[in-house]
């Protein structure tokens, strides 16, 4: 009984010490520098994939192919399609590419909690991590033309790119990007195909015709 009491007291003291790590005691130099590190980000719920017609695994090629009424249940989106190909990195880790094909339907919620409904023939999910920064994009393409529906209406384009980390959605039509960013409208990209500023073009191009004339004069003199 005595031992049990000691254990309880020790446990309570331990709890108190833990609880006091962020408390600043006046006049205590040690406590002035006591700051608990930033809390680690909460874990995300796992992504689940279901398929009715089985799956093939190329264990050497690190690829999994799911067939027949494939459903992807992710904390941030739901996807259905007929074929899903998952590239699994060598040695494990998060899949770096997932391709969904045929009758792709994606329902997701953006950063403002607005529901979006997207359809396409093909979608390519790409995941990468560089310097502690995660990039996740979903690119919709194919025929029929990808479409995105939400409370603002329906958008269609040759390519629709959804950047998951910030919720941006870019709709491209014949190579010109028109963007809608519900999360931060100031980040809207309007037209990425505008001609570039003057470049180091070679002599003889129309932009450098003055220089060409000058050089010709120099030679003849």
């Amino acid at each position: 009984m005595k031992r049990f009491s000691l254990i309880v007291v020790a446990a309570l003291c331990g709890g108190m010490v833990h609880a006091q790590t962020n408390v600043t005691a006046p006049g205590s130099p040690a406590s002035a520098t006591t700051h608990s590190p930033a809390a680690p980000p909460p874990p995300r719920a796992p992504t689940q994939i279901y398929s009715d017609n089985g799956a093939d695994f190329d264990l050497s090629g690190h690829q999994a192919i799911f067939r027949g009424h494939v459903r992807v249940d992710d904390p941030e989106m739901k996807l259905t399609c007929a074929l899903l190909v998952v590239d699994v990195p060598q040695g494990g880790g998060h899949p770096n590419q997932i391709v969904a094909e045929t009758n792709v339907v994606i329902d997701f919620m953006d950063a403002k909690g607005q529901t979006n409904h997207a359809t396409s023939d093909k979608s390519v999910y790409v995941y990468s991590e560089q310097g502690g920064v995660t990039n996740e994009t979903v690119t919709l393409t194919g025929n029929p033309q990808p479409q995105m529906e939400n409370a603002q209406g329906t958008q269609a384009g040759d390519v629709i790119i959804w950047t998951r980390v910030n919720g941006d959605i870019h709709v491209s039509l014949q190579g010109n990007f028109h963007a809608s960013s519900r999360q931060n409208p100031s980040q809207i990209v309007t037209d990425t195909n505008s001609p570039p500023a003057k470049t180091n073009l070679p002599l003889g191009t129309i932009q450098n015709i003055d220089k060409v004339i000058q050089n010709t004069d120099a030679i003849t003199q």
């Binding site: 994939i49 799956a55 998952v86 040695g91 920064v133 910030n166």
Partner: protein, 157 residues
Amino acid sequence: MNAKANITMTLLAAGAGWLFAIAPGVRAQQNGVQHASDFTSREYYGSTNQQQQVKSILSGAEALPQPGGLLTITQLKLEIFSPDGKLEWVVNAPECVYDTFKGVANSPGHLQVRTGDGKFRVAGNEGFLWRQSDNFLTISNNVRAVIENGAKMNTKP
């Protein structure tokens, strides 16, 4: 020779492709297949610098020879390693039949596959077929996979 070694040698004699690497000379005894239990066997990559890197480890609770070169294996566990020694895949099945002539394993039952780090896991309950020649696995019908996402995304550079 101890009892466990005997078991392994017996299984080798069954002609299972996984097992050839240990004692290829035993293959000549293919007709003398016997029951084996609590077995483990290794397959190796080609030797480099006189060191043999494990390619796969097969283990099981029991191996029961059947007519026609078949082998019923219970509590199968297959671990596949990369050439640099990383555990890439782990395959578990409560029971399967391995065809020692064709080099294929199949079962009408449960199978579980996971990556070495466990972040990608797949399970099926309605049968599978594994082809040893190209390391290709087919899981029948209803399949469920889980991808662990880890921590929430860091969006700030």
